[in-house]
Amino acid sequence: MTTDLEKNLPTGLSRRSFVQSAAAAAGLVLGFHLPGNPMRRAEAFAGAAPANKGESRLNTWLRIATDGTITIYVARSEMGQGIYTAMPMLVAEELEADWTKIRVEPSPSDAEFNYSGRPMEITGGSSSINSNWEILQRIGATARHMMIAAAAKQWGVTPDSCRAEQGAVVHASSGRKASYGELATLAAALPADAVNAKELKLKTPAEYKIVGKPTKRLDTPAKVSGKPLFGIDVVVPDMRYAAVRHSPVFGGECSNFDALAKALPEGTTLVKVAGAVIAVADGWWKAKTVVEGLDVKWTQGTTAGLSSAAIEKKLRAATAGKANPTATTKGEALKELSKAKKKLEVEYSTPFLAHTAMEPMNCTAHVKPDGGIELWVGTQSHTLTKLVASMATKVPQEQIVVHTTYLGGGFGRRAENDVVLQAIEASKAVGKPVKLIWSRQEDVQHDFYRPASVVKMRGGLDAEGRPVAFTASIASPSILQRWTIFGGVGKGGIDFTTIEGLADIKYECPHQLVQAAIVDLGVPVGFWRSVGSSHNAFYLESFIDELAHAAKQDPYKFRRGLLEKSHPRFVKVLDTVAKMSGWETPAPAGRARGIAIAESFGTIVAEVAEVSVSASGQPTVHKVWVAVDCGRYVNPDTVIAQMEGGVVYGLSAALRGKITLSNGRVEQTNFHDYTMLAPHEMPEITVEIVESGANPGGVGEPGTPPIAPAVANALFAATGKRIRSLPFSNHKLPGGKAT
């Protein structure tokens, strides 16, 4: 019997964190390294020399062990979207690797590993595959050339006479064959210029053997075994645990810290940080109990007195601003609107939303005696985490190490580093490593929320029922005001995240005017799965549906007619979803269908939702059909999974998702009042990939935007009630009559 954590640790879990143990294990194998870093420099693509002269720096994206195990470092974060499988698939494809030998590790936080060659590598914007496709191919192709060069040298033959297949090099004319494992040592000793970037011939899609085929995720076995994987699972020797309590009103500060700090239970420490206090103890439960039991006095805060009703009023007022910055203007929308045969003027709105990733926010930080900082965190950007930590502490980036763990969901929340800075402060205060974990209440009440917004939309139809003019005026807090790293708010005063999916409409309409106003409300806002498209698809696709009904046309055919001239990919996606859902045949008795289409992150997704409404007005979403054109794709099984997940995320928000404020405080606290879709509410989702061969788009986010309007349009079809604000639970639906 033992009481010691260390002795009780399950076999295989190192004293140090699993991240470190994984790195140590890799160190035991003979490393095979790529020369230089030909992939991340622009000249490599132009066919220049693969490495700087005299450069002995090794690239460690890829290691091949003598037993043939291939370890691929991935510099993007795995948060469920499947890139720890899809990105290695691209590498393995060009490497002609045996897929069963592939292992994945998060890359170290050195800029060396950045694919872009820029200082920042961010897992966001559904970009991991589409922005790195060729780079990943080149990583694999370079290694393949190295393997062939090593074999050719060993056999005294020309590289041209050898080929790579299934993790081995073959010399066809002599029948000789050597596995990558056997060649690893020799390849590692090759000179850095053994491979010329000019000679790298990348496969065409027709030659792919792995890419494009349904492939099981590499991380599934670990995820069903209960292995420590996530930030919250990190164990560091001599570690302490911390819990945070924020000012309930945004911007408030603890005003009685000294008195509180004097009266703490033994063995606990209180730390004051911006907008919060943190208790540090020998266990998380104790830290949480202590911090929640404190009689903390807070200063007033910036959102004091603010309520959701006032927020809506402010946003609504801002939509009326005639001089609001213009995002799109085409023709003479206002003039043509006044002349239109039929006019429609409506207001839509959506609330703040929290991310509520399943793994509560957490970070383990160790501020060391020498001033260096070590961090273990599920971050969407290890490079940004390092930069932010450096800026806040003045510790140079070279003295900061970030260990990226698996993320128990990200959705944009883990692009933020608030928890990281808090953990650093806590570690600094106690002089030991500290694992800071937020309670779910803190997570719900102190998020960077999807911005609330209100939009006023007007549309005019001509005598044939075709749109002649369209205007939209949206008001919303700005995400980019804070994200200057992404360029901040544009020169014209437009935050592009506010208008994405609204200002570039694909429907034929000669006169358009889209304006956007920034309304600062003091409520923190941030990126949320599909960002601006999460509300704009609801606005636009509901409005188009309204126009279709005003024109007395079928909503699918109305859309199709406005897209067919210039947007064949959209038409194909629409046609596909219409066919899948049996749009042209009546819905089963008691049910009704709605359709929506949206492009986001380079991917076009159309969805049809089939709903019913109970006699008491309760909506049920029974089925969802998804047609997706994401261009070229890597793992179709992941594309399907991400569409399913995107639908569920959007549906959770559409049905009941809202963050409301009262007296400056968020009213919701946990999963009972900020709910997500429950298993019994899960609709049957069918996904079909529309093959276009176009450049790859993203898949993590684009499934989300169309679901809210598809369901809203279906509810209209079912009940005749048009829902113009989310969530649906705010509205009393008439009992179902779509029989």
Binding site: M1, T2, T3, L5, E6, N8, L9, P10, M79, G80, Q81, K216, R217, D219, T220, P221, A222, K223, V224, S225, G226, K227, P228, L229, I232, D233, V235, Y241, G283, W284, W285, K286, A357, M358, E359, P360, Y406, L407, G408, G409, G410, F411, R440, Q441, A641, E644, G645, G646, V647, V648, Y649, N670, F671, H672, L677, A678, P679, H680, M682, I685
Partner: protein, 156 residues
């Protein structure tokens, strides 16, 4: 603080802890069994599901004293090598996305099959109320179907 003796995954352990501490935190921080996960702290999501005497419980709401002298099974105790039929089924269906809730999902499903080896899909569906933010419910249903099949074939 007091000494609490527990039987976890067939092994007897004792820990010095406040008896009101939820079992979840004892498993994670005292015993290093990190596969049982914290999601909400209010028994709402099921990420912390473990078995006590074969029954699924939410360990975030279970004080450690309620578990003493009982058999506690965590995901780590289900099998050392993913060979439990429910784990096998989850792998075959490739159910997880982020994976954070899946220990709890698997433990919830395993408890049903243990209590009622001839359980139907409807039985399991009725019993499983675990939340998943990634929306893997469809894959989980597929996995449940496979798990029932494997269980019936006696491939334990």
């Amino acid at each position: 603080m007091s000494s609490q003796t527990l039987k976890v995954n067939g092994k007897e352990v004792s820990v010095e802890v406040d008896p009101s501490t939820p079992l979840l935190w004892v498993l994670r921080e005292k015993l290093g069994l990190l596969g049982t996960r914290f999601g909400c702290g209010q028994g709402l999501c099921g990420a912390c599901t473990v078995h006590i005497n074969g029954t699924a419980v939410r360990s975030c709401l279970t004080p450690v004293v309620a578990a003493t002298n009982n058999e506690v099974t965590t995901i780590e105790g289900l099998s050392p090598d993913n060979s439990h039929p429910v784990q096998k089924a989850w792998i075959e269906a490739d159910a997880p996305q982020c994976g954070y809730c899946q220990s709890g999902q698997i433990m919830a499903c395993a408890a049903v099959l243990k209590a009622k080896p001839q359980a139907t899909e409807a039985d399991v569906k009725e019993a499983m109320t675990n939340l998943c933010r990634c929306g893997t419910y469809g894959r989980i249903q597929k996995a449940v179907k496979i798990a029932i099949k494997l269980n019936n074939e006696g491939k334990v």
